[in-house]
Structures are given as C-alpha cells and as structure tokens.
C-alpha cells in the first residue's frame, strides 16, 4: 500500500502546526527577554534569585588532575554557605549551591556553564584557566560574578571576573627579590626558571624576566609540558648553567621530581615555587624530605596553619564537618572566594538590586576586602591584580595544611615599575 502524497503533505502540515503552537512550552516567556523583576520585598531580582533562595554555581574538577583541590574548594564553599544560612541567609533568602564537575575537560565545562549558568546569580569558583577562557565571552554577556581558581594575567581586564589576590607574575617578582635579599643571590648570578607552557607558566615567566632584568640576574629558562614527568634533563641543564636558585612554576608532581633529582645530584640551591607548584600530598612521598629541606613557595593566600583567627576557626570548622578529608590550600582559597561572593551579595542586597549586574556593581565598589584572611584586596580596578602582597611559605609535616609561614606578606620594591599585561 502506498501513502497518497496528500496524506504525507497533511502530516507535514500537522507537524509544523504542532511546532508553532508550542506555547505550552516551559521555555516560552512571552518574549520578556531580560527576566529582571522586582519581588515583593522591593528587591530587584534576576536569574538565580527567587523569593526565598539564591543559587550560586560552582564549576569544579572532581575527577581530573585537580580532583583533590576541587574537592577542598567545593567542601569549603559549601561550609561557608551553610554558616551563612545558619545566621539567617542573605536578604531573607537561603543560599543554595549547584556543583558541576568538568574533570578538566573544556567541553564539559562549557556544557556545565550552559546548564547551571542560567540558574545561577554568580559562580563561586571555576577551576582551570582554559575552562574560564572558554566561557569568558558568555560570562561577560551574562554579567555573572565569577571567581576563577587560576591566577594568570589574561584573566584580568574583565569586569565580572575577579581573580583573587596576586597573579603568578607578581608572586615571582616578590619571590626573586626575596631570593636576592635573604637567600644570598647576588647581582650577576644566574637563576633558573622551570615553567609549564600555557598561561600559568608564561604569566610567571613574565614576572621572573622582569625581576631578573631589574636586579641584574641572568635567567635560565626551561619550558616543559604538563604531561612531562621526569625532570632529570632540566636539572642537568640548570646544573650546567651554574644557577644559584631555581624558580618553579609547574605542577606538584614535576616539583617533586625536580627538587628530588636535584638534591640527589648534590645541587644545594634554594627552590622557590608558585602557589600551584606545591601540594601537601607530596610530603609522604619519597620526595618529601627533599622538599622539606630546600623548597619554599610564594602565595597571596595565608596558609591554613596561619595564626589569623579567621583561618584558625576555618581549620576547626572544616575538620569538624569533613573529618576524613585532607586540608590543603583549596580550603582557604575556596572559603575566601565564597566570602567574596557572599559579601558582594550582601552589598547588593543593601542596594536592593540582586540582579547579576547589581551584584557585580556591588562587588566592584569594595576597595579593601579580606583583612581577616591576611591579604587586603582592591576590587575597584579589574585590569590589575587585586593585591600585590605575597607570603613566603614552606612545607611542614606537622602543620595543618602542610605548610607554615616563613615571611609575612610583603611587596617587592620593584613591583611598582612593573606593567601588568592584562587580557582585555
């Protein structure tokens, strides 16, 4: 039996009619578009804010290379939101979080943003600078306050994106000056810099190049890929160049290989890392003793072992809530980032404007935030790092978080001449 042509045409017409009458769809908004509205209490609200809840997104890494860091970040931020809720929430609304894992895969991060972006008022953290980059345009269109957990300079220059603390280059400038002033490196000496290709390493390299030039040092560069594991060749190159100190802007695993191989080969020089070069998980490994002996790192955030009352309390609360989990730098980084978002929301609530743009504007109105966490940040400018002060920290087996402060936060004298390149 054949279907008459007319029947087929009728079927097609029916299909089209069905499509056009899709008004019953939940997506149908009647063409309102922007979605901003004032709720009963006179507060302007937008996506992510209802009459009794505020939704905050997190795009994190729970299955990829930064899984332990991502887990600490997520735990710490949920702890913070819980504490805020116990104290009554914000604007009479409870904070809710939605978490999505990207496993350090850009496509999954883009998918996660498409999924939770429309439901969130802000993103309390996004792990990984390639992932932030992939959704940067949309963050700017949506005016979504976003705290990236990455410190490369090209993330600067975007109004809704708030890089916390210093960028890697500022850390390196401070670090090189520290080497000269306190570790016996003299003008005319060579220093080495081991770094990852990509924005992390290249941002750090910008800083070390500038500082080496200013302080009359010779910089010996060694670039590696994130997949490289064995640093024997790099150690040999540094040894041949006779370097007096080595800067380290790679992952924890590469740091362990570098420091371990160098010390085993009798290289007695100080190693100074970026904040992403170290993880307390390295200490029980065979490289642990070498790291304890010769490695320090530069960071804007106070380590978990710090005496600051806010950090001490965080350590206790975190251990009470997540007794089985290791404490690492993700805990304080996540908690601080959650604090930034919550304070922006509180300010926005005072201004009766909880739309995304309102939250970003409230956030950008603060110029001295975070005294209690050991580093004051200025959020009013977004083409410069929020802070120029770094701690020097060294690994310690006994301390909470596996690190203790060596030098309280300082800013190198030469930083003021440094032009921060921003991503625009």
């Amino acid at each position: 039996m054949r279907i008459p042509r007319s029947t087929r045409g009728l079927a097609a017409a029916a299909v089209l009619a069905l499509a056009v009458t899709a008004c019953a769809s939940e997506k149908a908004t009647g063409g309102g578009g922007s979605g901003a509205a004032a709720s009963a209490d006179g507060v302007k609200t937008g996506p992510g804010v209802t009459a009794d809840a505020i939704t905050i997104g997190m795009i994190t890494d729970l299955t990829g290379p930064y899984a332990s860091f991502g887990k600490s970040l997520t735990n710490a931020q949920q702890l913070y939101f819980e504490q805020v809720n116990q104290a009554g929430g914000i604007c009479g609304r409870k904070l809710e979080s939605i978490v999505r894992d990207h496993g350090y895969d850009v496509q999954k991060a883009v998918a996660a943003y498409t999924e939770i972006g429309p439901k969130s008022v802000a993103l309390a953290h996004v792990v990984g600078s390639p992932m932030v980059n992939a959704v940067k345009q949309r963050i700017e269109t949506d005016q979504m306050l976003t705290i990236p957990q990455a410190w490369a300079t090209h993330l600067l220059g975007s109004k809704p994106i708030q890089v916390t603390g210093t960028t890697y280059d500022i850390d390196m400038i401070n670090g090189v000056e520290y080497l000269v002033k306190e570790k016996g490196v003299k003008s005319g000496d060579s220093i080495g810099h081991l770094y990852f290709e990509g924005d992390y390493g290249e941002t750090a390299l910008n800083g070390s190049k500038f500082a080496a030039d200013k302080l009359g040092l010779k910089l010996v560069e060694q670039k590696i890929k994130a997949t490289d594991q064995d640093m024997t060749a790099q150690v040999a190159a540094f040894k041949k160049a006779g370097v007096k100190a080595i800067l380290v802007s790679v992952g924890p695993r590469q740091t362990a290989s570098l420091v371990g191989v160098a010390l085993a080969g009798g290289m007695k020089v100080p190693f100074l890392g970026s904040n992403s070069a170290y993880s307390p998980q390295l200490l029980p490994t065979p490289a642990g003793p070498a790291l304890l002996a010769a490695f320090e790192y530069v960071t804007a955030g106070a380590p978990m072992s710090s005496d600051l009352p806010a950090i001490k309390k965080l350590g206790e609360d975190y251990k009470a809530k997540y007794p089985g989990d290791a404490v690492d730098s993700g805990v304080s980084a996540g908690y601080t980032a959650a604090g930034i978002v919550v304070d922006a929301l509180k300010k926005a609530c005072e201004g009766k404007d909880l739309t995304r743009a309102g939250v970003v504007a409230a956030h950008r109105g603060q110029n001295a935030w975070g005294e209690q966490y050991g580093g004051v940040m200025d959020f009013t400018v977004f083409d410069k790092p929020a802070s120029l002060r770094s701690y020097v920290v060294k690994p310690d087996k006994e301390a909470l978080g596996g690190a203790v402060v060596v030098k309280e936060p300082f800013t190198a004298d030469i930083v003021k001449d440094y032009q921060v390149p921003s991503g625009g």
Binding site: A22, K108, N133, G423
Partner: protein, 371 residues
Amino acid sequence: MSRIVTPLWWVLVAAGVVVAPFYLDGIWLQDGLFAMAAAIGAIGLNLLTGATGQLSMGHAFFLAVGAFGYVYFASAPSGDGELDGLGLPTPLAAVLAVLLAGVAGGLFSPIAGRLKGAYLGIATLALIFIGHFAMSNATPVTGGHNGRPVPPMELFGFAFTDTPEPLVIAGVPFGALERLWFLGVVLLVGAGLFARGVLRGRPGRAMNTIRDHEIAAGVMGVPVTRYRAGVFVLSSMYGGLAGVLIALVFRQTVPDYFGLILALSYLAMIIIGGLGSVAGAVIGAFFVSMLPSLFTRYSDALPLVAPTGQEGIGAAEAAQILYGLAVVVVVLFLPGGLFGLFTKARLRLARRSAPAAPVKHALTPTPETRN
C-alpha cells in the same frame, strides 16, 4: 508493512527535530549540537576506517584545522595586531575551512595512500602532536593557548547568535543554540546523504573491496592507492565540517580540546555505533557524546550516588563508571555495534511476516575481515 512504517517513522523523527528547540533547555540543545558535530566527524571517519579499513588516530587534527580555519578566515584582524584574520563573510569562511581541511588531508595523502591499517594509525598519530604544537605556537592565527573568540555564522543577514534582542517564535526566545540547532540538523542530513551516496555507489563497493581483500580489488581494476588517498581527503573534509560546527557551538576555540582523547573517542563512536555505515556513525556519535553528560546530570537519582559536591560516590565518578560499563557491554555483546542490533531486530521482524529478502551487499565488515 514497512512501506507505511518507514515514512511514518521519518515523519515522526522530523517532527521531533523541529519541535525540540521549542521545548528543550539550552543544555539539551547544546549536547545535541555537540552530538551532531560529532556525528558529522564520525561519518567521515567511518568512511575511512569502517568502509575502507584504514585506521586513523589523527581525526582530531582535521577538526582543529576546520575550527581554526573558520575562525581565521572569518575574523577581522584585531586592532593591536596580535591576532590576524581575513574578515571574509562567514559562509565563505566555513566552506574555505572545510576545503582547507581537505587540503591538509591531501598533503598527508602520499602517506595515507601507501600505508594501511594499524600502520596508518601510527602515522596519523603524529598529526595530533604536530597540530598541538602548531596551535600553541602560531599565536597570530590560533590565539595560542587561550584560543580566540569564534565569530558567529551569518547567513543572508540572519546571525546565529544571542544578541541583539532574541528573536521570539511562538513565545520561545530563539538564542544562539536554538538557531544553531537547525543549522546543525541541515548540515548533518546533508553530510549523511552524501556519505550514503558514496557508500551505496561504485566508490563504496570499491572501498569495501579494498577493506576486505586488497589484492582482489587491485586485480579487478580498483586503483587502490588512489582510492585510499581519496577517501582520506574526503574524511578529513568531514572532520573539517565537524570542526566548524564545534567552533560555532563553543564560541571560543580551545586548542587543548583537539587532543588524543578526542581522536580516540571518535574511534569509539564508530566502533560502538557500527563500522561501515552512516547510521552506525550517527548512533555511535550520539551515544558517546551524550551518555556521559546524561549520567552526570541524572546519576544522583540512582541509589548509592550522592549529588555532585557531597560525600560519597559523586555523580561524576558514577557517570564515568557507568559510561565505561556501557562501552564494555556494547563491544562485548554487540559485535555489529548498536546499529547491528537494530538491523538484527528488523530482520527478525521481517522474517516473521515475510520470507527473508536476499542480502544484497554487506556494507559492514564481518569480524573475519576486520583489520
């Protein structure tokens, strides 16, 4: 029986496709678009690997050529001289990007024509590493590590983008994803029909003969080397088209995406879907690219699985385990892939109602002839 069922079936599918953007959330549309792009790429790879028996591990490279080619041709050079571009009209840029991927495949074809099977696989592996190096270092063209924004496609004055004010059809705002959905459907249908034509015609028979018995093909007068090289070029053009669509969905090209994992997942798609046929490639592409995200989104409804970000086995871990399990089950129990399962079921139905029609010509390789 099938005369009524088949057209009805197609009408239903077409209706579903047209209605989808009116009801589905952005995330579904985006997953669907990624799957459509993957399906186009997988069809191309299936022509090469499934139909001709040539293994390629470098498919991701041609996707990258298509994506970055489109961005380069369509972008205007940036003011500060950091990024170059030609600023061509976007449809022309897309066509040129596909041709560029073909040229890249053509440059490789002296190798692709002479090597076969696993040897070609190893040779194409090199493309991934060359591609990664080029993408990271040719900053004026690719934007280096950070990639660069993708200019939205514009056809006859109609832009596939969110801004300015969204177009509203039947009360549903049509943003970039809804608009791209239809572009993706058109491209996928076109790509599928073309490949079907190739497979069912003379070239398809020649390709299958090369796969099943190279010497026999040569004896019958099939120019083996030329065919191998030609199929390689065709499959790289499919890769290029998939790359253009992926770039449009991403809205920012990201070099790290086009790596070895992507190339392997394309191989997984055609094996899971079914080697040698268009439908197999499409089914496999949807399976591989949508299953993990479905699991991630819904696995917290399963017992013993905690919502993402809380204690216990998280949804993300569960998604990976389930996905791995699904792949193993398909490969172990369905030698013809998911498409083979459909064909088997249909044959069984047909046999019940009518005597089996003689099998004309096997598009899919039998296990004995598979490389």
